[in-house]
């Protein structure tokens, strides 16, 4: 079962490594990880994706809650939530026109950050869910992707 957890953790030395270390120590896996400081700077929010049976997920949550620096663990999978991932992709197209055409076929908003006319390469930014992102990458085709870098998934429960 794929599970997205939102973990609020105090900004203390070692706090992140305690969270991440817990996973390797207990044989759980992290598929995606994204961390950033909350506005007050006293806390950080960690969004992570893990896989496991219901029992394992229950243990993961309890183990996380037990960490002294962790203030809250939310299982977003069990609530209605929005999730997003951002990718920067360097694409090589036959021509920029054909790339624009491809983009419109894919039906997503690609922000073109830079375009190199001579070499027909563009650097684009795209935001999507994890599944959609996989789809986009498939449609672009591995042959035309020169490089790709993706953020961890971030997520939030809907109001």
């Amino acid at each position: 079962m794929k599970t997205i957890l939102a973990v609020t953790v105090e900004n203390k030395p070692c706090a992140l490594s305690r969270v991440v270390g817990l996973f390797s120590q207990r044989g759980y896996n992290i598929e995606s990880l994204s961390v950033n400081r909350s506005p007050g700077k006293e806390y950080s929010k960690i969004i992570l994706i893990t896989h496991g049976t219901e029992r394992v997920i229950e243990q993961v949550i309890k183990q996380l809650e037990k960490l002294i620096n962790v203030s809250e663990v939310k299982n977003l999978t069990s609530t209605i939530h929005e999730e997003r991932q951002m990718s920067l992709i360097k694409v090589c197209a036959d021509s920029l026109e054909s790339f624009r055409l491809l983009c419109s076929q894919i039906g997503r908003v690609f922000h073109v950050l830079t375009a190199n006319q001579e070499q027909n390469t563009v650097l684009v930014q795209v935001t999507a869910t994890e599944d959609e992102m996989q789809n986009i990458v498939n449609l672009l085709g591995p042959a035309s992707i020169l490089d790709i870098v993706s953020s961890g998934v971030i997520a939030m429960d809907t109001p």
Binding site: R55, K62, Q63, K66, I68, S71
Partner: protein, 576 residues
């Protein structure tokens, strides 16, 4: 107090926590702290001979008193030497404070002399850890560390102190930490009425109940409550290795230890029960044997202070995440009208008593057909008698440990002190040292093997320095007996690396070289007299080597890895 160094702040904060003893070993990064130790007189420092021993001694101190043991080591090798002892304490949930020196903060990360990442290395084996970034934080962090170590499920806490945080370069004013400031530290709530009622319903509906209690009873100081609960209900009681002493071994409701080397009766009773009342236990693999075959018809009522222990291995039908003491207190209030007599005369007890009669513990302890050689089980029985069953017993790890657990009958909690979770050879002697510090007037003995004792034997010197008369009983079978047993059972007796040739030291001379007494017992016929001789020297460290038979196996033994809890080998030939 004004004009304090960071080291002074540390000592004052430790005094605030009523620390009377530190077990430690000095070195560069800890020197400012050692200077602060020198300049005060209320806290005693015990200089061990190896940092591992400092942690085990603090551990023994803690297990025998319930108070956290305190360790002080230097950075680098001092810190890494402490790791085994921290892991040992962690696995058995023992409250401990480990203060490690660290290189100055501006040197951290530069591979400075004796630098090691203590926060990183210790992270998976501590309940929590702190690194000091400002000496002014010391009083608060010490307070937090003690609180974390001793509350909830206890455990070791590390405080890493860079050298410049403890030194005299600036002076500070000590002010006691007022509030804890641990907003995110969660402790379990009191049990609710509904939780207690559901437990009572399960208890009332059960025809074949069993109380399965463990280290949580000892740590949670709930032995009295357990005894009352058992008395009111008349239910059979089994204990884990860690729980021994939490219920008196000579009580007729005690059916023996559960698990790998537990009694047939206890393991069968678990298997055939319809209700397991699990109190302060964690369904360790050394208890359950194969999970898939675990107690097929039993409901599980699980009480534990640690939420992660609940349903981790065996799903609980009803769980109460509170302290066992609180839960038992509440249960005891409601259980008064329980018909304990009809329980006592039930078919369930009849069955259990038949198992008990069929496979009595005494089968193992009578002198065996081994001529003049002494069997280790018999040796433990003789030690039990010689010490009148009233000693603090520390143990090392191996066959002798299991024999001690099986045949030394513990009647009180905090008396059986062994490394159950990590199984750390070398634990016994330094742990006995720590117990003796805490209980100078009590009889403290260490049951060990000729393998284990050599892992921390240097502590004989510490015992001498501080005049700590503990009695050491070394069951010498001239091999790593427990390993040999597994090689007999699983590797057709291919004995790979379990003996020392003829290199074993003469333990009697060795003990004497350290300034102690040494006694060697070789024959059955001299066992009792020589034990009595040892007991007559209560004011000395006496190293008693007992030469025991070489081919003994620990039985009963669960059949691993595919057996259920009740599939048991009872001697070299028979399984039941």
């Amino acid at each position: 107090m004004i004009n304090c160094t960071g080291g002074d702040l540390l000592m004052l904060a430790l005094k605030e926590e009523e620390v009377d003893t530190i077990f430690g070993y000095p070195g560069g990064s800890a020197l400012h702290i050692y200077d602060a130790i020198y300049r005060q007189s209320e806290i005693r420092h015990i200089l061990v001979r190896h940092e591992q021993a400092a942690t085990h001694a603090a551990d023994g101190y803690s297990r025998s008193t319930g108070k956290p043991g305190v360790v002080l080591v230097t950075s680098g090798p001092g810190a890494t030497n402490a790791i085994t002892g921290i892991a040992t304490a962690y696995m058995d949930s023992i409250p401990m404070i480990v203060i490690s020196g660290q290189v100055p903060s501006d040197k951290i990360g530069e591979d400075a002399f004796q630098e090691t990442d203590m926060m990183g290395i210790s992270r998976p084996i501590v309940k929590h850890s702190f690194s000091i970034t400002d000496p002014n934080e010391i009083p608060l962090i010490v307070k937090q560390a003690f609180h974390i170590a001793t509350t909830g499920r206890p455990g070791p806490v590390v405080i890493d102190i860079p050298k410049n945080m403890s030194g005299p370069s600036a002076s500070y004013t000590y002010s006691r930490a007022q509030s804890l400031q641990l907003p995110n530290y969660k402790l379990p709530a009191q049990p609710t009425g509904q939780e207690i009622q559901t437990a009572l319903d399960m208890i009332n509906q059960s025809a074949r109940p069993i109380i399965y209690a463990g280290g949580g009873i000892v740590l949670g100081e709930a032995s009295e409550e357990l005894r009352e609960f058992a008395f009111s209900t008349g239910f059979p009681v089994t204990l884990t290795l860690m729980g021994l002493g939490a219920f008196p071994a000579d009580d007729e409701q005690f059916i023996g230890m559960v698990g790998m080397h537990g009694t047939v009766a206890a393991n069968r009773a678990m298997h055939h029960s319809d209700l397991i009342i699990a109190l302060g236990v964690r369904f360790d693999d050394r208890v359950t044997n194969k999970i898939e075959k675990f107690c097929p018809n039993s409901k599980v009522l699980h009480v534990d202070i640690d939420p992660t222990s609940i349903s981790k291995i065996i799903p609980a039908h009803h769980a109460i995440n509170s302290s066992v003491k609180d839960v038992l207190t509440d249960l005891n209030k409601s259980i008064q009208e329980f018909d304990r007599n009809s329980m006592k005369s039930s078919k369930w007890w009849q069955e259990i008593n038949e198992w008990r009669a069929c496979y009595p513990t005494s089968d193992y302890t009578s002198p065996k057909d081994c001529g003049q050689r002494i069997s280790p089980q018999h040796a433990i029985n003789a030690i039990y008698k010689a010490t009148k069953g009233d000693a603090f017993v520390t143990s090392d790890v191996g066959q002798h440990q299991m024999f001690a657990a099986q045949h030394y009958k513990f009647h009180k909690p905090n008396r059986w002190i062994n490394s159950g979770g990590l199984g750390t050879m070398g634990f016994g002697l330094p742990a006995a040292l720590g117990v003796k510090i805490a209980h100078p007037d009590e009889l403290v003995i260490c049951v060990t093997g000729e393998g284990s004792i050599q892992m921390c034997i240097q502590e004989l010197s510490t015992l001498k320095q501080y005049n700590l008369p503990v009695m050491i009983f070394c069951l010498n079978n001239e091999s790593l007996g427990m390993v040999k047993q597994w090689q007999d059972l699983n590797y057709e007796s291919r004995y790979s690396e379990i003996s020392y040739g003829d290199s074993l030291p003469d333990f009697t001379s060795l003990a004497k070289a350290y300034g102690h007494e040494g006694i060697c017992i070789q024959n059955q016929s001299e066992l009792e007299d020589k034990l009595a001789e040892a007991m007559s020297m209560r004011d000395k460290v006496v190293f008693v080597e007992i030469q025991v038979t070489h081919d003994e196996h620990v039985y009963p033994m669960q059949i691993v890895p595919h057996g259920s809890i009740k599939d048991i080998q009872i001697n070299k030939e028979e399984c039941v």
